[in-house]
Structure formats: structure tokens, C-alpha cells
């Protein structure tokens, strides 16, 4: 039974990195050295997952390091490595780096386990492990009272979502008598099964900030430090999306109503997210709102309830998170108001062009990650004949081009006379982190057909 335990090597590495960061005071280079050590651990973990093999169920079938988990874990560890590298270069606002880095790595370890979860109990425990550190990161600036208040809001709301999920899970267990995903059987459970599925999903949707319970994310996140947001809105979210997709696929066959539930939530997320994003002047709010919309596209594929939709959704989770992380990190450098980006193209041309790359990927322009992501999502939805959702997604994408291009416009054609804050100190670590995001955005796009094939998606 112990034979499969080597699959945990990356998670162990990440946890070791977290401890190294915690005790960074004893490392050479102290605070910064701690961050570098942690970034190295995360990067190594990503490499091990990417080049390591996949396997069947381990730990009594509670975890399964399959190809989907391999893709998600590589993405999670890689995103964390980029984020920590950036933090090593630029620091956390107003505080030491190392606790923040350690928290992020603990969350990553939780997220990596979560994306292998094949069992309700493991899922819930690792979901908490992946999201708990986020509460602290959101209120990382101790002296910022309003930020702390919002972090507390975030904590309470997120716990509420967890409790709803747990309540739903208890029904699922009660109906099917098993906690394993493979043992979930809702056939003939009638209204009770519907309630169980609805509770679980609504809670999970709230966790990954999709409609209907999405408002709290916006309120709680809108004043957080952008650097915290860059992590919280990507890594734990990707992990949540992966396990949500797994769970939906597992129960889709025996609970047909799930397609309608997910489809309605997808449509609501697309509409609400895009409409809210249109009028935002604060880039944090804009990106959070557009994040809700992206989740809507993703759930459109999940509404299909097929293997194809599942693979496409998992692919899109990372394909969305990478450019999103890049944009958020630049927001952390430049400022949260859209006016802060005026003439970025003449001040920092390479950063501006990288921003263009990420924004285009978020819109879904080929050959970037986001394009192929949306291609597979739409493909999965078309196969399931969800024509209405597809047309809605296309319209939503058009709308999204309008607000993403506001940033491009500001960067390239903004008013020159507007005086924006002083020049940013050069930082090699941060530059490398941004460059990695840019390269990954292109690489995921170009490698998309192969990645999606590895996820087991077959079209046609």
C-alpha cells in the first residue's frame, strides 16, 4: 500500500519550503533568502510533478494522481513559484516576506492535494487547508484596519461557504453511503438528492467565487493588497475549480439536474461578472469581476457533464490563472487605478507588451492560452448542444474585450501630461517572475493541443 507514496514528494517539498521560509531568519540573506528558498522548492515541486508519472488511486483510493491532477498540480506549484519569486524581489507591502510566503506554500500544498482528491472527507479537509492561509494573506498588513476588517468579512463568508458545502456533503454521504467520489450514487434520491447537490454546489461556487453567492468576494477583496490578491485569486481558486469539476463529473451521471444547476450558474456568472467589470475604475475590482465571468465560461463546459467538459474546464482553470497572475502582479507594481497605467508603454515597454499578451489571452485571442482554453470550453458545450450558453459566452467575450482594452488604451495611448508615480526600482527576481508568466501564456497556447490530449479530452 505504501508503494504509491512517492507521489507525495512534491507536496512534501512544498511543505519543506514553507518551513524553510518560516525559519528564514536563520538562513543566509534572512527574509529575502527565505523567499528564494521557498520559490526554489515550489519550482522543483512543479518540475517533479510535470516530469513524474501518473498513477492509479493511492491511500485507499482517497487520492488519485491521474493526468488531470498532474496538470493541475504542475500549474499550482508553478504559479506559486512565480508568485514567491516576485515577492522575493519586491516584498510584501509593509511587512516581512517570510510568513506570507510560508502561508502561500501551505495553501499550495493543500491545493495540490485537493486536486487529487477522490473522497469527500479528503476534499473538505484539503479545501480548508488550501483556503485558510488566504484569510491571513488578505489581511496581511497589520496596521491597515479597514483591510483587516475586510479580511475578517472574507473569513466569515468563506467559513459560511465551507459550512454549506459540508452540509451538502453530509447529505451526499447519507444518500449514497460512501464518501468516495466513485461511490456517489444519487439515482432515485429525488428531492433530497437535488437539495444535497444544490447545497454542495452553491457552497463550492461561493468558494471559487462564482454566481450566485459572489458579492462577498468583491467586497472582501476590493481593498486587499494586490500582491495578496494575485495569489488568493489564482492558486486556491484553481484547486477549488479542479475538485469542483471532479465532483460534478462524478455525480453528473446519476443526477441529471446538475447540468441545469451548473448551466444557470454559468450564465449568471458570465452576465454578472462582465456587466460589473465594465464600469470598474479600480483594477482589483475589474479583475475580480472579470474573474467571475471567466468562471462562467468554465462552468459552461462543466454543464455539459461530460469527460470532455471536465478536461476543458481543468485546462482553462490554469490557462486563465497564468495571465491573471501576471496582470495582478503588474497591478501590484504600478498601482490599482487605471490611470496609473497611463503611458506604461513608454516607461516600461516590455512590461506593457507583456500586459498586452496577458490581456489578449484573457480575451481569448489566438494563439495564446486563453484562446485554446475557450476553444475547448465552447467545443465541449457545443458537443452537449448547449447553444444558448455558447452564444452567451461569445457575447460575453465581446463585452470583455471592451474593458480589457481600456487598460491597453491607457498603457499605449494614455495622456502623456498625467504625472504618475516615480519610476519603479528594477528587480531582477520580479522581472523573471513576470517573464515566466508571459512565456507560460504563450507556451500553454502553443502546447494546448498536446496538453488537452494529455488530459484525456477527445473531440470529434
Amino acid at each position: 500500500m505504501l508503494s504509491g507514496y512517492w507521489h507525495f514528494t512534491p507536496e512534501v517539498l512544498v511543505v519543506c519550503g514553507a518551513f524553510a521560509a518560516l525559519f528564514g531568519g536563520y538562513l543566509p540573506g534572512k527574509d529575502r533568502g527565505a523567499a528564494y528558498a521557498a520559490a526554489g522548492a515550489a519550482a522543483l515541486a512543479a518540475a517533479i510533478v510535470a516530469f513524474g508519472g501518473t498513477g492509479g488511486p493511492i491511500v485507499f483510493g482517497q487520492l488519485e494522481p491521474d493526468s488531470v491532477a498532474r496538470y493541475a498540480r504542475t500549474g499550482l506549484a508553478g504559479l506559486t513559484a512565480v508568485w514567491v519569486l516576485w515577492v522575493a524581489g519586491r516584498g510584501m507591502p509593509g511587512e516581512r516576506r517570510r510568513e506570507g510566503v510560508a502561508l502561500a506554500l501551505f495553501a499550495t500544498a493543500g491545493g495540490m492535494l485537493l486536486s487529487m482528491a477522490e473522497d469527500l472527507i479528503v476534499m473538505f479537509v484539503t479545501l480548508e487547508l488550501a483556503t485558510m492561509p488566504a484569510y491571513v494573506l488578505m489581511g496581511y498588513r497589520r496596521k491597515d484596519v479597514s483591510g483587516l476588517k475586510r479580511a475578517l468579512d472574507y473569513f466569515v463568508d468563506s467559513i459560511l461557504a465551507s459550512v454549506i458545502v459540508l452540509y451538502g456533503l453530509s447529505f451526499l454521504y447519507g444518500i449514497s453511503g460512501s464518501t468516495a467520489f466513485s461511490g456517489l450514487e444519487l439515482e432515485g434520491s429525488g428531492m433530497l438528492g437535488f437539495v444535497a447537490v444544490m447545497l454542495t454546489l452553491v457552497g463550492l461556487f461561493a468558494k471559487v467565487s462564482a454566481a450566485p453567492l459572489r458579492h462577498w468576494t468583491l467586497d472582501a477583496n476590493a481593498k486587499a493588497a494586490p500582491v495578496s490578491l494575485a495569489f488568493v485569486s489564482t492558486v486556491p481558486r484553481v484547486a477549488g475549480i479542479v475538485v469542483m469539476s471532479r465532483l460534478i463529473l462524478a455525480i453528473a451521471a446519476s443526477a441529471p439536474a446538475i447540468g441545469i444547476l451548473v448551466g444557470v450558474a454559468a450564465a449568471a456568472s458570465m452576465i454578472a461578472g462582465n456587466c460589473a467589470a465594465l464600469s470598474q475604475g479600480d483594477l482589483r475590482r475589474l479583475l475580480i469581476c472579470s474573474g467571475i465571468a471567466h468562471l462562467g465560461y468554465l462552468m459552461m463546459a462543466l454543464a455539459a457533464g461530460t469527460e470532455t467538459g471536465y478536461g476543458a474546464a481543468v485546462f482553462y482553470a490554469v490557462a486563465y490563472a497564468v495571465p491573471s497572475m501576471g496582470v495582478m502582479l503588474v497591478v501590484a507594481e504600478e498601482g490599482v487605478a487605471i490611470g496609473d497605467f497611463a503611458r506604461l508603454a513608454s516607461r516600461r515597454p516590455w512590461v506593457a507588451w507583456s500586459m498586452v499578451l496577458w490581456l489578449l489571452s484573457l480575451i481569448g485571442i489566438p494563439p495564446l492560452a486563453g484562446f485554446f482554453g475557450k476553444l475547448y470550453l465552447i467545443g465541449a458545450a457545443l458537443q452537449a448542444e448547449l447553444m444558448a450558453l455558447v452564444l452567451l459566452a461569445i457575447l460575453a467575450t465581446l463585452l470583455s474585450a471592451a474593458y480589457y482594452f481600456r487598460i491597453v488604451r491607457e498603457m499605449f495611448f494614455g495622456d502623456e501630461d498625467e504625472q504618475v508615480g516615480g519610476a519603479i526600482e528594477p528587480s531582477h527576481a520580479a522581472t523573471v517572475a513576470l517573464a515566466l508568466c508571459a512565456v507560460a501564456t504563450v507556451a500553454i497556447g502553443i502546447g494546448a493541443p498536446r496538453l488537452i490530449a494529455a488530459l484525456g479530452v477527445r473531440f470529434g
Binding site: 485571442i365 489566438p366 484562446f371 458537443q383 474585450a401 495611448f413 470529434g460
Partner: protein, 482 residues
Amino acid sequence: MFAVELLILVPLVGAALCVGVGRLSARASRLASLGATIASAGVLAFLAAEGIFSGVALEGWRVARDTVPFWDLRIDGLSAPLLALTALTGLVAVLASWGEHNRSSVHHALLLGLQASVTGVFLAADVVLLYVFWEAVLIPMYFLIGIWGHENRRHAAMKFFIYTFAGSAFMLVGILMAVFGIGQTDISMLVSGRTALAQPSLVFWLIAIGMLVKLPAFPVHTWLPDAHVEAPTAGSILLAGVLLKMGGYGLLRLALPISPGSFAHAGIVFAVLGIVGIIYGAALALVQSDLKRLVALSSVSHMGFVLLAISAGTERGIAGAMLVMVSHGLVAPLLFLLVGQLYVRTHTREISRFAGLGVVTPRWGSALTFGALASLGLPGLSGFPGEFLSVIEAFGAWSWPMIPAMIGVVIAAAYNLRAVREVVHGPPAEEWRALRDLDAGDLVPVMLLVAAIVVLGVCPAIVLNMSGDAFATLAELIAGGV
């Protein structure tokens, strides 16, 4: 054959080189970009020697690589003339922006990027690859208009992007429906497996919307005057020269072959849109006070002929559409080039402020007169054979309702001659007494286009020979009906 791929790779490498050597000097990056466009024209000449222009069948030259997903290129009769056009206008665009001093290395890199993407559209044999290049065209054009354009550039850049992106979004749904309905991404396999489509008409119209916006057809043409007027000269040249042709090409390459049965009802729609476009564009051009806007609106009118010619659905009709496209791809860049050269010297495009430029700047004046004559379809120049064929074929297909198209031809003569009369003829305006005429450097791109216009006018068979088989195959598909 690797040379086919070089058509895309050479401009791309040139673009990277432009940015790279741009730090050394602006001149170096200009030379790099000129070198790249000449090299890609050279590659095309090499391929011409191998016989790509000799009129090969629809399944002509192919390069597919398993290592790169969806990478599947093909040259055939439909793409060959447009590839030649792209190479020529790319070269002209680089020469036209020789005097650009504002971030010239990035400017040239974007021009080359644009050339690579458009070439990719014409080469793609895989529908996903085609879409990738199709969208990639938007990005360099957006920045060319937005950074180097005139006063109202930001608005025009955004409008251009939103319109064409909206069109291609519908096109994507259509493409995906076809791909998942048939289970292939290869265009020729899509065509041969088209009977598996559940809703061919829906697929056709979704794809056609994207093409009609790009062409542009009335009533989705409104992005074009703004984009053309605000774009820098090189941008207008590429926009008019090749970007608009993507619309016509897409209809012939993708929309009609995948669902030829839809032609039964689409033909009449195309004919109506074509005629409205011809007359509406020409009428608007007649009352413009801005010389560049006049040229831009004449494009709407000319593209109406493309649609009209396609609506006939016959072999000669399709040939006419191709001829109009190639001809307009030579004439419109010539006029934009001349207007741009005038603007650089005078900083105005107001027709009413000019008079008698034929006396002050005889070389420029003669070139504009030549361009106007070509644009109104003078026999012997490139505009005539295509428009003639399209009107004749449309008359054959739809008979007397085609008479309004002839009115469009008359208005075309009116607006072109009006421009010549106001700007070139008459006593010279005092304001421009000291105006500098075109020098040798300015004349190179002008003469390239003039030569091509004359050659195509005298001998339209050049294009017809390249693509005869392709037209016949298409006409058979349409006649077959399913």
C-alpha cells in the same frame, strides 16, 4: 516544401530583427524590414519558378507537420494571387513608412507582423490555423492605428477592433459547429464531409458574418472609413491592400465550400448587399471633403463588386470577384500612398484647400490622375476587367435588377474625376506654391503599383491562369447545390 513556410517565417524573423537592431539605429531597423519584405518576395519568386502560379488544382502545394499542431499550409489557385498581392503591398508599406520617426523600429516590426499574419491566413489549410492567423491580424493593426494614426486614432483603433472581433467571434462559433459536426479541422476534409452537418445554413451564416464584416459589406462597413482615415499611410495601404481581401477570400475558401447549398438563398442576399454597397459607398465618396475619406469610401463601393460577383455563383463570376480584389489591392494602396505623401507635405487632406497641384507637383499630379482613372475602371487598367466581369455575370444571374450597379460605375467616375479636377487641375493655390514634388525615393513604391496596375489591366489572364481550376471547382460545388 520549406519555402512555403518561409513566406510566414521570413517576415516574423524580420520583425524580431527590427526590434533587435532598433536599439542601434532607426536606419538599421528600416533596412532590416526592407530586407525582410524583399526576401519574402524573393521566396515567392522562387516558388513561382517552381510553378505555383501556373494554375494548380485546388489541392496544390501542401506542407503539414505533425510536430506542430494544426500546422498545415497550402498554396492553390485561390491563395496564389493574394499571396503575390500581400508580398507586393507589404513591400510598398515598408517603403511608404520610410520617413516614420516615431518609434520606427516597432512600427516596422508591426508591419512585418501584419504581413506574416495575413500570409498565414492565405496559406492555412487547417481551419483552426486559419482562425489563429485571422485573429492575429487584428493585433498589429490595432497598434498601428492607435499609436501612429491621426487625431482621432484611439476611437478608430477601438472601433476597428470591436467590429472585426465581433465578426470573427460569430465566425468562430460557425467554425466550431462545422469542426465538431464533421469531426475534422482540415478544410478540404470539412468540405468533403460537409453532408454530416446538421444545420449547414446556420454554419454558413455564422461564418459569413465574420467575412462580411471584414470585407466590409453594407451595413457592417462603418468601421472602415474611420479606420482607414485615422490609420497611418502604411496601415491604410495594408488595410486596403490585403486585409479587406481576407473577407472575400474567406467566403470563397470556407463559407461557400462548406455549405454550397446555402448559396440558394445567400446569393440573392449577397447581390442586394453588393449593390447597396456599390451605390452607397460611391454616393458617400462623392460628397466627401476629406481626400482620404473619399478613397476609403470608394473601397466600400469596390468591395460591393466583389460581393456582387460572388452572388452570380458562376466560374466567371468568381473570377471577376478575384480580379476586383487584386485590382483594388493595387489601386487603393496607390491612392492611399499618394494621399499620405501629400499629407506629409501639407498636413491637410481637405480637398477644398488644394488646386492646381498638377502644375506645382506634376509627378504627384500625374500619379493621382492615373490612380483615379484606375479606380473608376478605365479599360486597359486593372479595375476594368474585374468590374466588367462581375456586372456581366450578375446580369446573367439576376438580369435587370442589376442596372443600379451600373449607376454605381457612373458615380465612381464622378467622384474620382471630381477629386482630380479639384486637386490637380485649375490655377495653383497660392498656399502651396513651394510644394515639393515626389523625389526618387517616393516614386519607387508608386511606380511598383503603377506597373502592376497596367500589367493586370492589359493582361488579366495572369490572375485567371493562376486560379482557373480553383474557380471551376468552386462553381461546380455551388452548382451541385449540397
